[in-house]
Symmetry: C2
Subunit: 240 residues, 2 copies
């Protein structure tokens, strides 16, 4: 009896929609700001928080890149960074020049890694927003992670706080969220930093399981306090 | 009947131990690093976490001041800052030169405020560690707050994360913790930042009440996830 190839190599089964997607995680550059702005608005829609989203290209550019031009005497300048994931059905073009030298805790300079992954997709990707997220070089921006450096007093070491991570509809279930997190973890390790942290809503138990599988653990005895709005303005006055 | 002065002005009642203490919150300078190092170790003892405390003067100096000397092309440099509270029974000397220009979100430069408070104390202050915390100018370092800038994606604005706050035994109950927090809140407002946040252990209900009185609120639906140690090293590898 002739063996059916489909029985021997089910993972190689060829269907009409089978194709590969080349994916890459790289640091965002100044020309990516319009894409990041649109990703943030898509994320706000996803969380039903579009009304809270005050993001603009101008404020985003200032947050991501202005602090790099500020004088070094300002210890409060915010150092926010973004990794993007971009995809292409064809070979990915040369990534844009990062102009970024990170420095680890031992003082050594290095360039953050660009991470590649090839994904086999057996369905047509439905991306009605593709034209909004197409770069000059023809790649499609599929998601992002935004993060900043934190600090542990007892360890006297910085860490990285992952503020938000988002993968656009149409590109979910392909491991891109995990790949973005891996890029941040890789940078954390290369910098010599102590830890990576992020916050999670209590009821999103599926995400808790996902993070636990990666080796992360929940700090169940800790809560976050926030002071903002009028209360912050009032308490921040020196004359009361 | 002659009124007893003690009945009319009970708050002015003079006892043998009555005295005033001049307190000041100011930004830490490079020469304060040995004091901050000792404060962190005292705080670790207070939390029974002395075994976890890896702080040294060298690592602390690097965290607080090295990032200010790093090239601007490094977007990951940590920007940790410290406010100290120092006290003196006599008039406080001129504060050390801060060499610090903060820049608010509108691009205006300013020098962070130094905050003064005069406290009436009706007991002898018991400070067996006074000699360890006496500055060259004769003031006594009584506590500190350490903080770094955070970021809100939806607001596209930085915030300030208060990492640790500690007031030494002997100087508690005088409002110094609140004064340190006020200094951070004042800086947050002057920078034009959106919020101030910090974490609190669940069982410390007294501190929750204290923070709520200041106008802060708990984010009861949020938890922190952490990835560190071997799990971070493993997940941060690109080849697995």
């Amino acid at each position: 009896m002739a063996l059916e190839p489909i029985m021997i190599f089910p993972e190689h089964q060829q269907q009409s929609n089978d194709h590969i997607l080349n994916a890459r995680v790289r640091l965002a550059t100044e020309s990516d700001v319009p894409f990041i702005n649109k990703l943030i608005h898509k994320m706000a829609e996803y969380y039903n928080l579009a009304h809270e989203c005050e993001d603009t290209e101008t404020s985003l550019f200032a947050a991501l890149f202005n602090s790099k031009h500020q004088p070094l005497s300002n210890p409060f300048s915010s150092t926010v960074s973004v990794f993007l994931i971009e995809v292409s059905p064809t070979a990915l073009p040369v990534p844009p020049h990062q102009n970024c030298r990170a420095i680890d805790l031992a003082g050594h300079k290095f360039e953050p890694d660009t991470i590649h992954k090839t994904v086999h997709v057996n369905h047509l990707i439905n991306d009605p927003e593709e034209s909004l997220f197409r770069t000059e070089k023809g790649t499609i921006i599929a998601g992002f992670v935004i993060f900043f450096s934190s600090y542990s007093t007892f360890l006297t070491k910085p860490g990285i706080h992952m503020e938000d991570l988002f993968v656009r509809k149409g590109y979910r279930g392909m491991g891109f969220g995990k790949l973005l997190m891996k890029a941040v973890a890789n940078l954390t390790v290369r910098l010599g930093y102590a830890r990576m942290e992020w916050t999670v809503i209590t009821w999103n138990v599926d995400s808790h399981r996902f993070y636990e599988k990666l080796g992360a653990h929940i700090l169940k005895d800790w809560r976050i306090f926030r002071l903002d709005g009028d209360s912050l303005l009032s308490f921040g006055q020196l004359n009361n």
